[in-house]
Amino acid sequence: MSQQPPAAPAVEIRGLSVQFGGLTALNDVSLTVPAQSITVVVGPSGAGKTTLLRAINRLNECFAGCRTAGSVRVQLGGASVDVYGGSYPPAALRRQAAMVFQTPSVLPLSVARNFAVPLGAVLGLGRGEIAERMEHALREVQLYDEVKDRLHAPAQNLSGGQQQRLCLARALALRPSLLLLDEPTANLDFRVTRQIEELLVRLKTQYTILAVSHSLGQTRRLADHVAVLSGGCIVRTLDRSHLRDAAVFESLVEEVF
């Protein structure tokens, strides 16, 4: 590959520890997420994968009794932001480090209002611009043709895969620098899963993606970099060279599970 690696990593986590009500969820985690690539975090249930994602956009703080220590630096719009430095507003951070949850979480509103509520509230956009961004984002996730005639129908009537792509489009419409995906295909069938995976591979040329996955197959298909999380610690990091041979990769990961 002749391409120059980007100068600064998109996310740099150093010595991150998170506790909930005295219980340690993450313990002294350090991780570097390179820009414009897909980094996948794998690990057993309860390893702290979701907490790690939510530490980056400070969503853990929405839960009572959360204590975070350590540093997280994120590249946002050309500037390096110290997430826990205290001066960067969490709302702006969360808009630029957009998250998609494991279960498709559409607002119980129409497809169009799912865009209008956040875009209107967060960015203060007018109707015209909201419609423009919505169409662009829906086309980006290849959902526009499927929903263009039902933009004003309830989003909950869409299929699970369509809802999850809607959530992804809603995140993209905020024009984030970073996408945080928490097992985005956990509740979808294999065909829809493949569709979303192809989408993510296309999107990584524009966005840095940090995803959590429970599927080693998916990790192999998607990841440029892999971090294996177990018991709140990163126990191994792997890159593409480890991913080529499925058997080698699985044995590497299973060692630590």
Binding site: C62, A91, R95, A98, F101, S105, A121, H152, A153
Partner: protein, 292 residues
Amino acid sequence: MRKAADRLLTVFAWTCGLGIVAVAAGIVVFLCLRGAHTLGPRLLFDDVPWWQAVSGQRPVFGGLWPAVVGTLCLTLGAAAVAIPLGVAAGVYLAEYGGRWTRSFSALVDLLAAVPSVVMGLFGFGLILFLRKTLLPEANTCLLLSIFCLALLVLPYPIRTTETALRALSPEMRLLGPSLGLSQWQSLWRIHLPAASRGILSGVILAVGRAAEDTAVILLTGVVANAGVPGGLTAHFEALPFTIYYLAAEHRTGDELDRAFGAAIVLLALTAALFVLATWIERGLHRRWRPQP
């Protein structure tokens, strides 16, 4: 054995459900049997033409009109005070409350447990206190009753708002912040609209309680023949009190029947207020979620 228990539970649930319907229907039928024949313009306006009574050109002495207006003022006034305060307090408990939540919550329970006659006594005591100190002119009045009734019904919107907000799924709670909405924006644009059905039930409970309560107003400003209230500092009549004294002091069977007629009017009035509350909630919900 389990099948029998299942069947027994089904029978029990149906009996309870039907029992409630039967009791409610029984009350309505009984009221109608006794009071329906009194219904008509005479019951409300006596011999004053309705347009003259409604426009205030002629006072009504023998009819229920002043009590209807009094009850409407009381209920709407108490709702106007208690609902915004109660919803705000419920929001505090569900979304913002830190270490004070438990003590605050206990105080709400305490407030809910205060009997209405004690709340009336509190209002009465408050007026005595004001007369001796800041306002020698102060007297029991509509405003005082509204204030005490609002205090009485405050726990309903607080509890239902808190419960409805807490019942939202964790994903729904995180969704606003994850999209970059501030806590206030999430609350205003996502949480409250999503919880509006639950909040409505508290509003209905509060309105119903404010419309029926007699003990509070008895001690804070209701007067048998006050007429249509002239303002917030005037005395007033109210339907529950009218029903009470018509029933307690009737001399003829006809007067007792008028008490039943008044009870039907009160029932219709609260039903109309419930419809109004539901209608407002639907309108607000539709603005949030334009399609059914």
